[in-house]
């Protein structure tokens, strides 16, 4: 009996009537999270791809990056968001896509926290160009990114769990 055949039957034998609902629920949660994170990143990348000049100004406004790399970041980052969002929705290289998304979220959280601590006002440029600035706006951004990072980490654990079965 081949390994593949055995593993298929092993899976079927391990499913107990009580856990069937739980498995379906997990799959549903996984799908919801993949759609949520994937769509969010695709949606947020769009205006940056259309107006890279404005996004570059926003990157400059963060006052963190060396001037030499601002334009390159403004050109590349939106496409990283777009491609990773697509991987989550299509399932193609979804683990790698999610890893990059989580890494980006950690980066955003550091950036926002850093500017919040030093009292530097900035335009986030997350979903539209020219969002309102201010401390409360930054705190809201931070909370939003933390929630998304939580969802991203949970989703990665779900992928792991699925791969182990």
């Amino acid at each position: 009996m081949s390994n593949l055949f055995r593993s298929k039957f092993k899976f079927k034998n391990r499913v107990e009537p009580g856990s069937m609902g739980l498995g379906r629920q997990t799959s549903l949660i996984e799908w919801v999270l993949r759609l949520f994170l994937g769509c969010t990143f695709i949606f947020s990348s769009w205006h940056k791809i259309v107006s890279p000049d404005q996004f570059a100004t926003i990157v400059y406004g963060y006052d963190v990056f060396p001037h030499q790399i601002i334009n390159v970041l403004a050109v590349v980052v939106p496409f990283v968001e777009l491609v990773c969002g697509i991987t989550l929705i299509t399932g193609l290289l979804k683990r790698s896509g999610l890893l990059i998304i989580n890494a980006m979220l950690v980066g955003f959280i550091f950036l926002i926290s850093f500017n919040l601590i030093r009292g530097h006002e900035f335009d986030c440029g997350c979903f539209s160009l020219g969002e309102t600035k201010g401390v409360w706006s930054s705190i809201w951004l931070l909370a939003r990114d933390l929630v998304m990072l939580g969802a991203g980490i949970y989703l990665f654990r779900l992928f792991d769990k699925k791969d182990r079965v």
């Binding site: 890279p52 000049d53 100004t57 406004g61 030499q68 334009n71 050109v75 290289l93 890893l99």
Partner: protein
């Protein structure tokens, strides 16, 4: 748990992203240069268009030169900030034409602010971090206006230099 294949996948995705982004940026009419002008001491900070779509707009960094041009008369000065901000203070004699109202129909523009392509035009906005003046000037150049310049320091520098400021109703 992160596997080796996940890391390889990340590199693969990043390479795709870099290739895709540079390709799209090179072909897009909205593409930007790979190095922008982000030093406020050297003029308006901006990403700059990529070479294929770049429009050269003259930039004046010397506030005294702008003052001289304003006082000597022939130059038309355009303030492209919002009307409510313009009313609070602007360069004397400057006409307000917010970027948002920009009408690419040349006739409409000419009739509204009464300028001709031969006029010497100076465009300014809030300061070096404001790009509206550059966007406005670029559109004028594309429309055939030949003597267009951007005052890089904008109103912030003008005010800082202690030059005369006109408020609503005090224009000469």
């Amino acid at each position: 748990m992160i596997f080796k294949r996940d890391i390889i996948g990340c590199f693969f995705l990043l390479i795709i992203c870099v290739m895709l982004s540079f390709g799209v940026n090179a072909l897009s009419p909205n593409g930007i240069a790979l190095r922008g002008q982000w030093n406020p001491d050297q003029g308006v900070v901006m990403a700059g268009a990529n070479k294929a779509h770049a429009v050269d707009v003259m930039q004046i960094n010397n506030p005294f030169k702008v003052k001289r041009l304003v006082e000597s008369g022939p130059a038309v000065v355009l303030d492209v900030r919002r009307p409510d901000i313009y009313d609070l203070g602007h360069i004397p004699g400057a006409l307000n034409f917010p970027l948002d109202d920009f009408e690419e129909d040349e006739k409409a523009l000419l009739s509204k602010i009464k300028i001709t392509p031969e006029d010497e035009i100076i465009v300014y906005c809030a300061g070096v971090t404001c790009q509206d003046s550059h966007t406005f000037a670029t559109r004028l150049v594309e429309m055939g206006f030949t003597h267009v310049a951007v005052y890089a320091g904008g109103f912030a520098e003008w005010e800082e230099m202690g030059f005369d400021v006109a408020v609503q109703g005090t224009d000469p």
